[in-house]
Subunit: 330 residues, 2 copies
């Protein structure tokens, strides 16, 4: 099944839709359920009705369908209660820590790194990334995320996997220039991790077929920067799988339905796969050429993030954003 | 004006009510607005109707009023998009850093410390604090918080004060035993800051009279631990005022209506005022007596947090919780 959310001026949660596999046709399901978070709170109540609509969409006979316009779509989950963003790709952690001369955590391979991220109002997948100050070092981070139903505190990694209802892509915008000072103060990221965007579509695990294995999505995550190839790192190279990340997040709290768990920046040891953020590319330039050549994002720069299945079919729609300079308000 | 939220099995956001000054009588306002976050998104639309109901409550002639039972109340804001918790009392920062042999941040007095906290499902004000493992070092932290309408990115501290719609109290439960390892890993608090509770009532700024000054609440915050006096530190001793905390949170993002900003643990240099968390008391014992005598919370321990105006009238109702041991699920 594939879900999307239409933007709505009246309702910040938008209008929930289901979408055909070719992304051409959608059906509103807002008469069935107010929005996606409510569906996640009561998944078993809605599942069979969702499945019926999905079958109709796949058979090309859904009633009241309409053509999908990507610019009408919000992030599929426009806002939620908790975005717990892991950092499960060891290669990424090594490079970004090297970039800021920070030591690797002793628990690098045994305890996931995780921070609580902004999720009160995601950008739409085609919305501009607002940049107040170029000196903040604007960067993208291409990630995979899972959206959960209610998860009880203390759950095991294996049980946790059963609570994954949907999979999405994420652009976790990062302000690299603000990170060293924030981490030095000891309270972790805050200003350095502003508003993010999710993919236009969220899909159920079964849509991935054999690419979903061991709690990981075994497919390349495509990244284009200013229209050029930037990366196609395989998301299956996660050190911790999503069940482990969920269990980490739920160790001392229940997770509310609608919780989003992020993989962290997708990164592969094989550097021919490129990168999923500028910080990595810059560090590799420093290592291999002795100096950094790639600047951080500037106004007008574009970033595209998408994922295809093994037959080359687009799965989540494209996050396609441009950096836009905004004036300081005060 | 004074608001409360009745627990509801059907609706996780509960049923919004307005409450009389003596906390005896309430009126449901759910026919006017679905719940508190929606009211915050459209405050100007509802304000005059809220004011009319408030006048009727104060005059003892509100229609369809009912007697308030504290055990029927949820946290006044049962869940929200963002809880940005500052740490604006320098005395608290000094003591807890001393306790874990951590240096003071260089920007102690110039840049607020702030972390993004759990807010997807607050505990009710009289709900048990679940404790999985006594070794986690369960502690309370008594705080003051402000609830905002929509705040634009880049706002100034002075302008930010105009976006405060409501004031509440918070018990920011902390697991001290988990903090050193989390902070050492560099990503800040996560597991060490589990689910919190808010006060039963939220009040508008005008209800504080002259006690609201310079963006601070100039009143003692009362804390009883296991039925005994524990603290009455004055919340007016905040180094950063709430406008500065809001501006810090909004530096690189818009803040969604419903955002909660916390003061951090209320603490005074004058130690005769007691403390608002166990970590401080323990550190003072270490300094003054050479050894720590007070253990962290154990099952059955009780914590009460409340605030009175200068005439001794209770303002927010009481956060009154007990620690309850829960079994590990898996």
């Amino acid at each position: 099944m594939k879900f999307a959310t239409l933007k709505s001026k009246e309702n910040r949660d938008g209008i929930l839709c289901m979408v055909s596999p070719d992304h051409q046709t959608a059906v509103k399901v807002d008469t069935l359920v107010p929005h996606l978070r409510v569906a996640l709170e009561n998944w078993s109540r809605y599942q069979s009705q969702f499945e019926k609509i999905d079958q109709d969409l796949k058979a090309g006979k859904a009633a009241n369908s309409f053509p999908v316009k990507i610019e009408d779509l919000h992030s599929v989950l426009p806002r939620t209660w908790l975005f717990a963003d892991g950092s499960a790709f060891i290669h990424h952690i090594k490079l970004v820590r090297m970039a800021r001369n920070a030591p690797l955590p002793e628990t690098l391979k045994t305890v996931p790194l995780m921070y609580q991220a902004e999720c009160g109002q995601f950008l739409a997948p085609t919305e501009d990334i607002p940049q107040i100050d170029f000196m903040h070092g604007t960067d993208f981070e291409a990630e995979v995320g899972v959206i959960l139903d209610d998860v009880p505190m203390g759950i095991s990694p294996e049980e946790a996997l059963k609570h994954i209802r949907l999979i999405v892509l994420i652009n976790d915008v990062s302000l690299r220039g603000l990170i060293p000072e924030e981490l030095a103060a000891g309270f972790g990221f805050f200003q350095s991790k502003p508003t993010k965007a999710l993919s236009p579509f969220a899909i159920t695990v079964d849509e991935l077929g054999s690419a979903w294995k061991d709690g990981r999505v075994h497919l390349p995550l495509h990244v284009k920067y200013n229209g050029q190839f930037f990366g196609k790192a395989n998301a299956g190279e996660m050190h911790f799988h999503f069940g482990q990340l969920i269990a980490h997040a739920a160790r001392t709290r229940n997770l509310a339905a609608g919780t989003l768990i992020g993989s962290g920046t997708v990164a592969n040891e094989d550097i021919s796969q490129g990168s999923s953020c500028l910080a990595e590319k810059r560090m590799l330039e420093q290592i291999n050429q002795g100096k950094i050549e790639t600047p951080f994002m500037k106004a007008g720069d574009t970033i595209e993030i998408w994922m295809e299945n093994s037959s080359g079919k687009d799965l989540f729609g494209k996050i396609s954003q441009k950096v836009k300079s905004v004036k300081k308000l005060f």
